[in-house]
């Protein structure tokens, strides 16, 4: 947080961001500032643009309007090493062993032609990868292939793979959505531990409200404040609640001044009809 650009403020700035596909507006007028080290959980109904917002942060898609600044600079328009990601599925490479899945992140940036390291640097990379895997509790499965791991272990591997890059931002797209409740509890503990240790800025999309509130230091609720029944795609979702959970002060703060927010989410459906 010490390397903030003078005057511009927050680590991540979202400035009047819109996203639309053709006539379908998915997100509209998003404005927010995120401090470095914040753990933001993104909650809301299906189809409310949480994952779209995550894809914008990842650089997988570009905003239709507005811009997102990372440390005062516009976000790179394609995925890169500054932002790590864990998806619900398909996050790990099925053709590589557990160890190689993590070591890959150390090899790729340093070997732009071969894509692999040789000799001593390879041993070093594998050594580092082993340490990272130890942290997520996978040191007993280094030589296994992902298909031989349980769902929870695969997600541990995906997290280790993302963290070895030391990204500035970690993006999680419903990472525990396919896991058993018991396993999910373990994963929450692991994730919080790693977050406290690294002080990463985390964005996590989840369907599970309690997960969002128990993990996040800030909860962003996505909802559509206006719906036109004759043109369902005319209005997009916004952040209707922005709740800071720092140090046990759980004070809900309305994201902006729309009266609809204060009136509660149930009445929003009739707006604009």
């Amino acid at each position: 947080m010490s390397d903030k650009k003078g005057g511009t403020g927050a680590f991540i700035q979202v400035k009047n961001v819109w996203k639309q596909y053709g006539d379908q507006v998915v997100l509209e007028r998003l404005n927010m500032n995120i401090a470095e080290g914040e753990f933001c959980t993104l909650v809301g109904a299906s189809g409310c643009g949480k994952s779209t917002f995550l894809r914008l942060l990842l650089g997988q898609e570009a905003p239709s309007r507005g811009e997102i600044l990372l440390d005062g600079q516009p976000l790179a328009a394609e995925p890169d090493v500054s932002r790590g990601v864990v998806f619900q599925r398909y996050s790990v490479f099925p053709h590589l062993s557990v160890l190689d899945n993590v070591a890959l992140g150390l090899e790729l940036p340093r070997a732009p032609f071969l894509g692999r390291l040789l000799g001593r640097s390879k041993r070093d990379a594998r050594e580092q990868a082993t340490q990272m895997l130890h942290k997520v509790g996978l040191d007993h499965a280094l030589d296994k292939y992902p298909a031989q791991l349980s769902g929870g272990m695969q997600q541990r591997l995906a997290i280790a793979q993302a963290l070895i890059m030391k990204p500035r931002v970690l993006l999680l797209d419903e990472p525990f959505g396919a896991l058993d409740p018991g396993i999910r509890k373990d994963m929450h503990a692991l994730l919080l531990e790693l977050w406290r240790e690294t002080r990463l800025t985390v964005f996590m999309v989840t369907h599970d409200l309690s997960e969002g509130f128990s993990l996040g230091s800030r909860v962003l609720v996505f909802d559509k404040p206006r719906i036109d029944p004759h043109a369902p795609g005319a209005y997009g979702a916004r952040v209707t609640y922005d709740i800071s959970l720092h140090d046990g002060h759980r004070t809900p703060v309305a994201a902006d001044s729309l009266p609809a927010d204060l009136a509660g989410p149930f009445q929003t459906a009739y707006q604009g009809a």
Binding site: Y90, L108, P112
Partner: protein, 271 residues
């Protein structure tokens, strides 16, 4: 018990597997014996004795004119052509498939072209190949290459498109550029599929080989079969056909073993 719920035991399965082969063999032997009894010089259904005599003559006795062992000479020539053709087609198909399936800017021009080219019947352009590449080895190898490269390329392009986009994005967040992404992610994931596709096009490759050899060649398994056809020498043709079948089966089996040996992750990853 309903038929759908009944399965053979282990021994029963083996017996059932052998049964159709045994039936066909018995049918052949019975008819062969019947015809030879009526006319000992009958050529249509030779006995096993006549066939083994023909094999003895071609495989274990040097040819009177050239001194070559014709059977092995034919086998070596054919396998060389087939192997060269398959190898070139595999490399070309892999390159085209990866380029078209991974990079949208390459796929836009390549994909329709490959689709149209794969519709050209290879045997119809065989005369063109003979005119362009001459009657030597090259035209025979080219027929195999032209015949199966588009099939391999289309299949691999499709498989490359089926790689989940999440994996491609993940690789970019791990610092991959386009080249290393292809090298470390796309190619390794397509290699087992290439071996499977090769097994599937093996039949076509043999078809093109034998067609080319039948028309313009001086040796090769296909050449020999079409040469002795003039004398209705079924005692040569049938062992040659059996030998080609055995070779094709062996290559299929070896590719299958190779896939499992080189890519142990592949079976589990499909689940």
């Amino acid at each position: 018990m309903r038929l759908i719920n009944r399965s053979p035991s282990r021994g029963g399965r083996l017996a059932l597997a052998i049964l159709p082969f045994a039936l066909l063999l018995a049918l052949y032997l019975a008819h062969s014996a019947q015809r030879l009894e009526l006319n000992p010089n009958d050529k249509l259904l030779p006995s096993f004795g006549q066939m083994s005599a023909a094999v003895e003559r071609l495989a274990f006795t040097p040819d009177e004119r050239s001194g070559d062992y014709l059977f092995w000479l034919d086998t070596a020539s054919s396998l060389k052509r087939l192997g060269t053709g398959l190898a070139i087609a595999a490399v070309a198909g892999l390159c085209l498939g990866v380029a078209a399936g991974t990079l949208p800017l390459f796929g836009a021009p390549l994909s329709p072209l490959i689709t149209v080219l794969s519709m050209v019947p290879p045997l119809a352009i065989l005369p063109i190949l003979f005119i362009v590449f001459g009657l030597g080895e090259l035209s025979k190898v080219m027929l195999i290459v032209i015949g199966i490269t588009p099939i391999l390329a289309r299949d691999l392009e499709q498989r490359a498109r089926e790689i989940p986009p999440e994996l491609l994005i993940k690789a970019q967040t791990l610092g991959a550029n386009t080249w290393t992404l292809i090298l470390r992610l796309v190619l390794p994931q397509l290699m087992p599929r290439l071996l499977i596709s090769l097994r599937l096009v093996m039949g076509s490759a043999w078809l093109f080989l034998i067609a080319a050899e039948a028309i313009a060649s001086t040796d090769g398994l296909g050449y020999r079969i079409f040469l002795v056809r003039r004398y209705m020498a079924m005692d040569v043709i049938l062992p040659y056909v059996a030998w080609i079948t055995l070779l094709a089966w062996a290559m299929d089996y070896l590719l299958w073993r190779l896939t499992r040996l080189l890519f142990p992750w592949h079976e589990g990853a499909k689940a």
